[in-house]
Symmetry: C2
Subunit: 242 residues, 2 copies
């Protein structure tokens, strides 16, 4: 099995760190770590520490795990950076989406209001927990953020000059690397409306095809994110598809 | 909503087709199709028909849907063709894997016995049902097949001279198109053993990296399949990564 990973808000590079709460309970009771076992520590902001379990104890009914830290390194975020804005799938499929995006390496997920999408209720705390758990499991140095809801006109406005906007659509061309900072837009299963695609093209977004079949939102978003990350950095200039 | 799709074993190009069994029940009771509605007919072997519901009736307690066929076209399979051999994930994650692979466009899934994988029980009929349902939902003209279990030494032997074998592994290079017929090998979450990677290299397989983080089997397989299909056909010669 892979080394057990523990999330900590503060990661210092020397001495013994004390892990409490849910993370300590999980390490002590679910994973049943033993003193002397090696663990990896993640602060979700690029800090990755290596350490050894020094103590497992109970303090007023709560598990406490002491970890002796051997080293801490700073890991850069995944490049290209991907902000993935999607129509919101129903129920447990939203958790599947967050889980998959965290594994594949998206930096941020944001819910997108679309013409044909249905407005689903979701709880930020729950999605943050799913993202954190997936981030730990996949050894992400940077946790995936749950961002603010956007309407299309907002999502089509780049956050800065270096950001490229890519709309996933079956009518688009093949994706080619566009920028090191990409906002990927994934529509609902009913597809984008003609007005939405026209608005994207009008705003200078690239319209790209990421698959051969109709995919559900969570599959389409995870696959498209994988393709954009795998395609890597652009050779030189801006958008190339469609 | 997208047009309703019906799977039929035999697809003839003229006259009225009679749909019975589960597909008729689903069309009549779950989707509540009405006479005059347009439907798409799929035989799972490249035949895609367009038709109109002509009759919805019950025959000895069973739903029967009559569809008047307007046209039938033959659609070629997805290229590159992908046979995806994976370690078998536990429980419902296996259904998620089959569902995702069918959406993204794999031709065949096969269970792979690996050094660190756990042998899971699975039922062919269940997985075929999941594949068929996902094939319909994503409008696949060709249904995804559930193939035979393989051990690594078998999976490393190409089925024919035109098949390229690609092992997904974090130590590999970036994927570049290798062939129009690819067998993709995805290991268990604990990773391949050193012996397995050496065997793959020894057999002439490409070892390629499809992501930046550790992914669960079902996410890794679906993302890697998406990347291989999106990378398309090779410019000329053989394997390039690793």
């Amino acid at each position: 099995m892979a080394v057990h990973r523990i999330h900590l808000d503060e990661l210092v590079s020397t001495g013994v760190l004390t892990v409490r709460g849910e993370e300590a309970h999980h390490a002590a009771r679910v994973r049943r770590l033993a003193v002397g076992e090696r663990v990896e520590l993640l602060d979700g902001r690029g800090g990755v520490g290596r350490g050894t379990v020094q103590e497992i104890a109970k303090d007023r009914g709560e598990w406490v795990v002491g970890v002796s830290v051997q080293s801490v390194e700073r890991v850069p975020p995944v490049s290209p950076r991907l902000e993935v804005c999607t129509a919101v799938p129903k129920g447990s499929r939203l958790s599947d989406l967050i889980d998959g995006l965290a594994q594949v390496g998206a930096a941020v997920w944001r819910p997108l209001v679309t013409d044909r999408g249905v407005r689903e209720n979701w709880r930020r705390e729950k999605l943050e927990r799913v993202a954190l758990e997936a981030s730990k499991q996949s050894g992400r140095a940077w946790r995936m953020e749950i961002g603010e809801e956007a309407v299309l006109v907002q999502a089509l406005r780049p956050a800065d000059a270096g950001m490229s906007i890519v709309m996933a659509d079956a009518q688009g061309g093949a994706y080619e690397p566009t920028a090191n900072n990409v906002r990927l837009l994934v529509g609902p299963e009913g597809g984008w409306s003609e007005q939405e695609v026209a608005a994207a093209r009008g705003a200078g977004a690239s319209v790209c095809r990421f698959g051969v079949h109709v995919m559900r939102i969570e599959t389409a978003a995870v696959v498209a994110t994988g393709i954009v990350i795998s395609a890597g950095r652009p050779p030189k200039s801006g958008p190339t598809c469609s």
